[in-house]
């Protein structure tokens, strides 16, 4: 029983560690969510739990209420970053070591509350996201209010941010490296830019003949039904009726995929789109734009 006891103590110690940097986030009308004091003055949480841009507060581990401002959002990965005057609040220990399938992990919610389980898969079983590193699928329960909290290893180090809002039927975590990348973007530009293409799309089935010509077994793609004037899509020469099959090598099987594959750091970068026009495959180079900010 010694090994069990050692593991048990390690898990309890990990929760105590995490409790020093886990905060409550009060950004929606229903019950609050959880956040991680990721870097000095920056709290990371789940975007879907911050429904407002103003009057957001953060509850520190000692119960103090801190005023927060939304520093940026990346809805593609369900990430929001809050700026807080954190004072001497502990900063999370982030590990760059990638999580592996089978690792024992803990999800921590405000309070602290804890839930344990395993990394059950890398990826959410549907999309691969080579750009960002895949999401972690978890075999554990994310209880109400856990979203935005840390996924920690048995040493108390943060391996990701949990969210139940980004994928139906899955308990997932955004890997720490992905969160770091978005925070870097925030530091570099002073904001998290939102990628913009300027197309409206609908899902479309790929007939077998077209699949063969494209050399893919992909069954669906999206068809462009609108190209906004003066948009990156217009500049790249995309036209209504073009069938968009992949972007930057990642399959686009439904309109939601476009949002999921585009990340803030790609704003200003050129990506290659695989398109079928009149049944003919072609490649289109497009420079990703930035969505205008709300006034």
């Amino acid at each position: 029983m010694d090994a069990l006891l050692a593991l048990s103590n390690e898990l309890a110690g990990a929760v105590e560690q995490a409790a020093r940097y886990v905060v409550g986030v009060n950004g929606r009308r229903r019950f609050g969510s959880t956040g991680v004091h990721w870097q000095q003055g920056l709290v990371v949480t789940a975007d879907h739990t911050v429904e407002v841009d103003e009057d957001v507060t953060v509850t520190a581990p000692d119960g103090r209420t801190l005023t927060a401002t939304v520093a940026g959002r990346d809805p593609a990965i369900d990430l929001a970053v809050l700026r807080v005057d954190a004072g001497d609040l502990a900063v999370a220990e982030i590990t760059a070591e990638p999580a592996r399938v089978g690792h024992i992990v803990l999800a921590i919610g405000r309070g602290p509350r804890a839930s344990w389980g395993l990394v059950s898969a890398i990826g959410d079983g549907r999309r691969r996201r080579p750009e960002t590193g895949d999401w972690l699928s978890l075999d554990l329960t994310l209880y109400p209010g856990f979203s935005g909290g840390p996924l920690i290893d048995a040493r108390g180090r943060v391996v990701g941010m949990t969210t139940s809002g980004a994928a139906r039927h899955f308990q997932i975590a955004i890997p720490a490296a992905t969160v770091d990348r978005t925070l870097d973007e925030l530091m570099r530009r002073g904001r998290i830019p939102r990628p913009y293409l300027g197309v409206g799309t609908q899902a479309v089935r790929l007939p077998e003949a077209l699949r063969e010509r494209l050399g893919t077994d992909q069954r669906t793609a999206v068809i462009i039904v609108d190209v906004q004037a003066d948009s990156p899509a217009a500049a790249a020469g995309l036209m209504v009726g073009d069938v968009l099959v992949s972007l930057g090598g990642t399959r686009i099987t439904e309109p939601g995929d476009l949002r999921a594959v585009l990340h803030p750091h790609q704003v200003g970068e050129t990506v290659t789109l695989s398109v079928a026009r009149g049944g003919e495959p072609r490649e289109v180079r497009l420079t990703v734009g930035e969505k205008a900010r709300r006034a």
Partner: protein, 184 residues
Amino acid sequence: MPLDFAGLADTLRRVTVEVTDDGAARGSGVLWPRGYVVTNAHVVRRSRVTIGTLERDHLQAHLVARSADDDLALLRLVGVELPTATVAETAARIGSLVVAVGHPFGLRGALTAGIVHAIGPIARNGVPWIHADVRLAPGNSGGPLADVSGAVVGINAMVAGGLALAVPISRVLDFVRSAGVAHP
């Protein structure tokens, strides 16, 4: 070093009983203190109940004390010597591993494992409960929630929001003491 959940299960099965009241299996109980069984108040409805262990059935026990507020009941075993559980001396820590043994849906001696999720009241200003991320079902009521050394940290009482709720061992000690029963 192996993680010996099986050995832990054996230890706890020896001190976990099935409580039958009015002819129906109602839940579980813990053999503690010596000569007594602690269980939930909602498991016991009459003053005489039947106890079953791994080896023996139809053992008699009398109700000694009952507290609906704490959801605890204390039974005295009649004319039989049985092993006694070990109770934890310190409070459970959030995140620590815990196991539950009981008879969910009549499945005798079933083991489930998880961690302590939180310790706190269910309602505002209420008394603290152990909230555990452990799967329980009807039949676990009154059974032990134990740490991985096999020491009982709480008495399982209900399930809420998918979480197991257990009466912390400190409240069980107070209850047994107030019933006038000495314990080591």
